[in-house]
């Protein structure tokens, strides 16, 4: 709806990229509170909306994202479930078939692997295989972990598995503003939506309007404007890309940064339009590269622009191994603002520059003290 969401103040302001661009009167919320507020407002708006999952009603309330919902809406609409991801996903689908609008919460994305049959074989396919006679208005929230030894089974970014499958939408907001608007959009969507959160994004703060609003499926956002290279950062890597853009400024490279927000449907128009200008594309994912979201974006851009102009393309993401817990190895497993900046500069200068910017205190990664 909002025309090309170019340089939207909410996205950048959340990271202090364009300080002062948000009106002083505007309220600041954390990502956690933005998620919670969206769920609260959608539950208030529509009595068919309910929230359940392991531990949504316990004292920690899923990092606080479900805090207060049980007290306000009662145990029929907010309940913790047995440790039964398969059956509870199937039950969520049954509820959706009966006209409810469930939000099923998983505190780690890794647990979705226990629910793949219901998500892929039933949720994504029901509308089609039943000839359009049913809808599955289901939201599945899940979190990617990172830092403090999350390790092999608490850190996976599996969103591309779902991008592969027709019939399910995938959204990965990176700012509090988009967290609220995308969750509202997902709840109101008549189709299944996988809502991808990142544990480190939960600590982000940014402007979030109090009134309810939606962020339209299938629209990317340009979060920084530049002409030398296009950086596409997925989920938490959007934060690192914006930091990388600041490092690149110091060597005279102007990076355009794009947050795809919705991975399926994917707004390839906005990305390709940028790459047609810059000629260089670096996609950074919080996931592996093989058959991943970054591969898909690069492939679609290459298909679109081959023969139109010369292209320099690169992907960054998890190292092609299992995530280790010890900090020294874990740091090597992930891209970060400095390694992204280095790769982007190499693309721009078309050579191995051997440059790695010195870490700037104002662009450090979030310090996260576990356990979760």
């Amino acid at each position: 709806m909002s025309s090309p969401q170019l340089s939207d103040r909410h996205a950048g302001a959340a990271l202090g990229i364009r300080p002062g661009s948000a009106p002083a009167a505007e309220r600041t919320l954390s990502f956690v509170d933005a998620v919670r507020e969206a769920a609260d407002q959608e539950m208030a708006r529509d009595p068919a909306v309910l929230v359940f999952g392991l531990d949504v009603d316990d004292p920690k309330a899923i990092q606080g994202t479900c805090r207060g919902l049980l007290e306000k809406y009662g145990p029929e609409r907010v309940f913790g479930t047995p440790l039964s991801e398969d059956a509870m996903t199937g039950a969520a689908i049954g509820m959706a078939l009966a006209g409810l609008r469930p939000i099923h919460v998983h505190i780690r994305m890794d647990f979705l692997l226990l629910a793949m049959n219901q998500l892929v074989n039933v949720a994504a396919k029901s509308r089609y295989m039943y000839g359009g006679r049913v809808n599955i208005p289901l939201v599945v929230r899940s979190m990617i972990g990172k830092s403090w030894g999350q390790g092999a089974q608490h850190s996976q970014g599996l969103h591309s598995l779902f991008m592969h499958v027709p019939g399910i939408k995938v959204v990965a907001p990176s700012t509090p503003y988009d967290a609220k608007g995308c969750l509202a959009a997902a709840v109101r969507d008549d189709n299944p939506v996988l809502y991808v959160e990142h544990r480190l994004l939960h600590f982000q703060k940014g402007p979030v309007p109090e009134a309810s609003y939606t962020v339209t499926p299938g629209k990317a956002r340009v979060t920084a404007v530049g002409e030398d290279v296009t950086l596409v950062g997925i989920s938490y890597m959007q934060v690192e890309c914006l930091r990388a853009a600041k490092y690149l400024e110091s060597v005279g490279v102007k990076a355009e940064v794009i947050d795809p927000i919705w991975l399926s449907p994917l707004d390839i128009d906005t990305i390709a339009e940028s790459v047609e200008r810059t000629g260089r594309l670096l996609v950074v994912d919080t996931a592996w590269l093989n058959c991943g979201a970054a591969a898909e974006i690069v492939a679609q851009v290459a298909e679109r622009l081959q023969g139109v102009r010369d292209l320099r393309l690169k992907r960054m993401g998890f190292a092609p191994t299992t995530c280790p817990t010890t900090p020294g190895l874990e740091d090597l497993f992930y891209p970060n603002a400095r390694t992204i900046a280095a790769a982007a500069r190499d693309l721009v200068e078309e050579r191995a520059c051997g440059w790695l910017p010195a870490e700037r205190p104002d662009l450090q990664s979030i310090v996260f003290k576990g356990p979760f």
């Binding site: 996903t89 199937g90 689908i93 039933v122 000839g131 006679r133 049913v134 027709p166 449907p265 390839i268």
Partner: protein, 321 residues
């Protein structure tokens, strides 16, 4: 009552015999898992259901679809892959649905709909307490984790759902005794806290009565019930024929089931005139359904890309392009 049961049984039997007969012509564009021999389970249970009640089933779902009141023309057209089919030729025999009749879906992945049924029951409990859900599945499905998980959830939330395990003794070609360390499915339901009964799948009148009794509890907040119903698949796992030549089961094993065939026995018990009247009407209806399927068009090629999302096709692809 008996006349109605006979009509339903005879209709399913004859419909599937016609499916088997026509199958050789390749006009049916879908694998078929015939329920011949097992019809009485669906007919007996559905005789105790109300129109607003809802059923979920399996890929062997012709009998359930028809017993619950699914549209016959739309079913045959679906098997033919026609645009007038109940899913416009997109789901085929294994994914029959008729929401208006309370037939809410069937899965080709064993056990899958058990959980869907429980979720539907959760919604009914809080929004439409006059209705219940019946979940049909086979003996093989009780080996899936989703069966145990769903029983637990149904008891925990005291859901209005009746679980009906149609135990035909085989998962494709493997007998229950080679798959289950303790071949007592009712015991597993009881262990989860679900009251259970082991019933005779050829006793259609008894099944209707026992379903009525169990649902009296389920409808009044008593929580879930479980039936293990003994039955037998006369034909091959998938396809129109028999499969005794494969050697995994003896033809003689089927003998007692054929001897106790409820379709024949119920028919024999009816006054001759009433029986022939029912049969003539059913034959006319079935012939009309096949004629409807034959005359119906195949879906337009544009249908390949519709119904993926509930949105206009061009809106979404515009976003994806």
């Amino acid at each position: 009552m008996r006349a109605q049961l006979y009509r339903s049984l005879y209709r399913i039997r004859r419909l599937e015999e016609e499916v088997a007969r026509v199958y050789a012509t390749d006009k049916i564009k879908s694998p078929v898992h015939l329920s011949i021999g097992q019809e009485a389970v669906s007919v007996g249970v559905c005789a105790a259901l109300r129109p607003q009640d809802v059923v979920f089933g399996t890929y062997r779902g012709h009998a359930l679809y028809l017993a619950k009141g699914g549209d016959l023309n739309a079913m045959v057209a679906e098997l033919y892959g026609k645009a007038t089919g109940c899913t416009k030729g997109k789901g085929g025999s294994m994914h029959l649905i008729d929401p208006e009749a309370g037939v809410m879906g069937m899965s080709a992945v064993v056990g899958t709909t058990i959980a869907n049924a429980a979720g539907y029951a959760y919604a009914l409990k809080h929004r439409r307490p006059d209705a219940v859900v019946v979940s049909f599945f086979g003996d093989g499905a009780t080996e899936e984790g989703v069966f145990a998980e769903t029983l637990n959830f149904a008891v925990l939330k005291q859901l209005p759902v009746l679980f009906v395990c149609e135990n035909n003794g085989y998962a494709i070609h493997t007998p229950q005794i080679r798959r289950q360390g303790k071949a007592d499915i009712c015991a597993r339901a009881e262990a989860a806290g679900v009251p259970s009964a082991r019933l005779n799948g050829n006793d259609v009148v008894g099944l209707a009565r026992r379903t009525e009794e169990a649902l009296a509890e389920v409808r009044t907040g008593g929580g879930p019930w479980f039936f293990e119903v003994a039955t037998y698949r006369w034909r091959e796992h998938v396809g129109p024929g028999e499969d005794y030549q494969l050697g995994y089961r003896a033809a003689a094993e089927c003998g007692p089931w054929v001897a106790a065939d409820p379709v024949r026995r119920l028919g024999d018990a009816l006054p001759a005139g009433e029986r022939t009247g029912i049969e003539a009407e059913v034959e006319t209806e079935i012939a009309a359904a096949f004629a409807f399927a034959e005359a119906s068009p195949f879906p337009d090629s544009a249908e390949l890309m519709t119904d993926i999302f509930k949105e206009e096709f061009d809106v979404l692809t515009a976003a994806q392009r």
